[in-house]
Amino acid sequence: MGAASLIVLIIAAIAFSGIAILISKFVLKPTTNKQKGEPYECGIPTQGKTWIQLNVGYYLFALIFLIFDVELVFLYPWAVVAKSAGWIALIEIVIFFFILFMGFLYAHKKGALKWM
């Protein structure tokens, strides 16, 4: 069916979720009370702000990931032709991995991979 299928899928997803939510909206009468809308924190009112700056630990992995994922994208076209390119491909990838691994080791040594 080709690329048109993507449109079908997106519409299907929206329709499915939309209809499901709408049905549940129609089926019941919402009730309200004071506590209902409070964020759940084991039944205790939450203290302090929730939307705060978070520890850098989480983001560091995103950064490292970014670097590695870009390398991974390079690998896809290489992988397709690797078999036909033969030894050149292997040598190339060894060099590529060597550099990548050095970067990895550097990150490891710097403690970027240790959770803080």
Binding site: I52, N55, G57
Partner: protein
């Protein structure tokens, strides 16, 4: 007869009014949290995933058992203590009955002594089984919980047959035990021992030997021996830190001095050591039961006591080893039919107090492992 009391707990905590550094936030774990197994409320200060401070807030199910006991007679108050540490109800009852007997200065018949010890050890196994399952569930493995319940239910069935209840038995009374054991008791206990021996290797396969589990437990919540003593940690929590604190060995009561069993000690002090202490303790309990099950002496199970018990003026203290640690029962008598004051030194209360000390600097996931291995039973803490 009933009136609802309005208790608004934890509405404002002065020490937490101001929030500390940026990136730190305060999270409430409990009273309705899957990992607290009851209504423990922990206020945790977090920085990212790292715990800066843990502060327990208690009292959600505080029934003031100590006050209640002051208005109950020496026969009656024992039933309340089953509701303290409900997982080792027999041992609580045992401690209270022993304390009253100490005051009355009665000897209990040898048959009752053996039955009491047998029941205690069965309770200990049942309690550890539940702890094992619940702790594995806290760490995210659901299956062991059900496997542990299979063995635990067997014990509960045995209890039900003899004592008539599965959890809060009120079987031990001053002077002995309430009823003689059921005729099938010995057979059923032997069957249970067989079942346990057949299944015990599964504990190792499912949890103990599992690499994920070991990594979750090792070097988590390390408690040194000095701190364990200073914080009053007893039971498997203290013994995991290498503190010899088994009351059954140190201050033997009933027939424990004649029995062959080892005090289980681990030196790691981390969660894994506490875990291993309990696992090995179950084997020791099985060993005690095996020694006794064929050697229950014949005879009476209940010494004749007066219908209304009166303790002489004085103070009486007994210490027993429950599944969680040292339980102390302290009765102050003024010579009347009711205790003047009763204090229960519950093991969970002291074990909880160490949580803040060992949890600082670890992750949220570790907190669950620590709480699991401290084996907190909230009614025991709240009493």
């Amino acid at each position: 007869m009933y009136r609802e009391t309005q208790i608004i707990a934890g509405s404002s905590h002065p020490s937490f009014a101001e929030v500390g550094q940026p990136g730190e936030f305060i999270i409430n774990v409990g009273p309705q949290h899957p990992a607290t197994h009851g209504v423990l409320h922990l206020v945790i200060t977090l920085s990212g995933e790292t715990i800066k401070k843990v502060e327990p807030h208690l009292g959600y199910i505080h029934r003031s058992i100590e006050k209640m006991c002051e208005s109950l007679s020496y026969r009656q108050f024992i039933y309340v203590t089953s509701r303290m540490d409900y997982l080792s109800a027999h041992i609580n009852n045992h401690a209270c009955a022993m304390c009253v007997e100490k005051g009355l200065q009665v000897e209990i018949p040898p048959r009752a002594q053996v039955i009491r010890v047998l029941m205690d050890e069965l309770t200990r196994i049942a309690s550890h089984e539940l702890w094992w399952g619940a702790m594995a569930m806290d760490l995210g493995a659901f299956t062991p919980f059900f496997h542990a319940f299979r063995e635990r239910e067997t014990i509960n069935d045995i209890m039900e047959e003899t004592c008539g209840a599965r959890l809060t038995m009120n079987y031990m009374v001053p002077g002995g035990v309430m009823q003689d054991i059921h005729p099938d008791f010995q057979k059923r206990v032997k069957e249970f021992i067989q079942l346990y021996k057949r299944k015990v290797h599964e504990y190792d396969e499912m949890v103990t030997g599992n690499i994920i589990f070991q990594n979750r437990m090792k070097n988590v919540g390390v408690l040194s021996a000095e701190d364990a003593i200073s914080y009053g940690c007893t039971g498997p929590t203290g013994r995991g830190s290498g503190v010899s604190c088994d009351i059954r060995k140190l201050y033997p009561y009933e027939i424990y001095s004649t029995l062959e069993f080892d005090e289980v000690l681990e030196t790691g002090g981390d969660s894994f050591a506490r875990y291993m202490v309990r696992i090995r303790e179950m084997n020791q309990s099985i060993r005690i039961i095996e020694q006794l099950i064929d050697n229950i002496p014949e005879g009476e199970v209940l010494t004749k006591t007066k219908a209304v018990l009166k303790l002489p003026k004085g103070e009486f203290y007994t210490r027993v080893e429950t599944a969680r640690g040292e339980l102390g029962v302290y009765i102050v008598s003024e010579g009347g039919t009711n205790p003047f004051r009763i204090k229960f030194r519950s093991p969970g209360f002291s074990n909880l107090s160490v949580l803040d000390h060992i949890a600082r600097g670890s992750k949220i996931g570790d907190l669950v492992a620590m709480m699991g291995t401290l084996d907190l039973v909230i009614p025991d803490i709240d009493r």
